[in-house]
Amino acid sequence: MAENNKILKINNIEVRYHEVILVLKGVSIEVPEGGIVALLGANGAGKSTTLKAVSGLLGHEDGDITDGSIEFLGEKIHRLPAEQISKRGIFQIIEGRRVFDHLTVEENLLVGAHLRPSGLKERLETVYHYFPRLRERRTVMAGFVSGGEQQMCVIGRAMMALPKLMLLDEPSMGLAPLLIKEIFEIIQRLNREERIPILLVEQNVKLALTVAPHAYVMENGRIVMDDTSEKLKENPDIRDFYLGLTDVGGRKSFREVKHYKRRKRWLA
């Protein structure tokens, strides 16, 4: 892919919390125009921190980018406050379905259009086209709709902002498998039909690799692998550690656990 096609470039960033805890130790990620990129990894690998670094939310947790840079559409954005970053078109969907509980579903969507308050009706119709369930629930307070509907509401809210880049943090968290499938299909459609580039953080590696053509694997604050999904699916380490597909299959013995740890150390 040509170099100028990348809309987001994270160049070797280092993030520290409270000025001492080094969380990201040089992370570089590129998101191509109109593409979906998945960011995979275990808990505590630094995936969410990477997203927060992009969207400027590190300040809430006393974190800071101490090295490296983040470029969005050729502009360095890593020193900007969060609302300036969202003005440039990057919208993060924070993990854990942060709806505004006491606003109705529709008002939640309208908050999404905070920065672009024209043509609301058309955009509402677009969101309702992708999420017909939200239309049924539009007058209900968002705190009282189900978890899946809240997740749809949050994604719809970001759509209302006409994002140039969507950062999705664990859209599958705490949802039923069928619902996850539905939401991922919508995410794929959004990317295909509306051409919204997506940087996706996900624990569900299998699903993420089917949705995203390209993926990064993070461990311990570093990118350890970076390849197309097809190749990652074939990679024996990924099959072992993330997909749970071992060649032997079945229960792992103690010896294999040791082997697992040894391999993992090598990986990092």
């Binding site: 969907i93 006491h102 309208l110 908050v111 905070h114 920065l115």
Partner: protein, 373 residues
Amino acid sequence: MSYLPCGTYFESYADDHKWWRTSFIQGKMIFMLVVLAILPYVVDSQWLSVAYTINYYILAGLGVQLLIGYCGQITLGHAAFVAVGGYTCAMMLLLVPWPQFMVDGGLAYPVTIVCAGLLAGAWSVLFGLPSARVKGFYLIMTTMAAQWITVPLVITQYVAQIGGRGQAFAIPPDMIKIGPWVIDTDTKIYYFSVVLVGICLLAMGNMVRSKLGRAWIAIRDNDIAAETMGVNIVVYKLIAFWVAGFFAGVAGAFYLSALFFVSPEHYEWFFSLLWVGIILIGGVGSIQGLVFGAAFVVIVFKLLEIAVMSASSALMAINPELGWMTTKFIFFKEASFGLAIILFLIYEPNGLSYRYWQLKNYFNLWPFSYTGK
């Protein structure tokens, strides 16, 4: 769909956002306006003063409701901004050399009301600045600082000394005049208050259902998510403080028409607490709740006052020697207010407006409610 939905459904976005959406609501509101209009002909001046005190509390509480109920910024110093409004109005009426046509035409007082709002708003923003950094309990401390700095220090020690008048500023009665109407009787004060409250409630109602209000509620519900949606949190918090201060200033300026003088003891810290209590009783995050809360508190206070008065006069009639006991009743009012808040927090934590909402829902579905019983 396997069932037929019932109830009122709206087809367009415009219908959704109407003020009076059904003919029933229309009828209800018109009935309420008629009641408000004929009230002075039905009740005596004692209860009329209760009515405009309710309106004063509504005006002053609007800012508290906005800050606590809509924006999530807890404030315990709102009386300070009401004081700024009241003093601005009084000082301007007394000290500004008004041209004769403005005094005769009744323009001076309306102008001072607006100025009082603007200045109180600015003063409020000043004390809202810490909200950029601190939240919750720490913000309570900074807003309390507003109270202590403004009323006992700035107003009592400096502003009240201007012109060597001592602490109270009396307003010449004919200065309180709007257009051709001199506001001098309880009835006129009452009508004036109703109009002011109407305008302010309408403004507030429109604000909270617009982009501004959605941003405030978003900050209250989840400030980080609001920030990711591009809401500039600091700016919107400061706008909330400014608007709250403006309402407080208008309230202070209005109350001048009822009192004809200002004095620091009308703006004690107790009132800051009282207004927070009113919104707790009425319902946090609801304009209706503010109205219910104000009405509840003022009417209960009045009833207690009547009860204490009649009890003490009965006591005096039985045995004049026991007259000293009546002084012990005086503080019942404050104590009962504390008790009311405790009871409401235990038994009705969502406030009176929630009960009203339930009542409305009950009658919306009556007689075919599906409670499963």
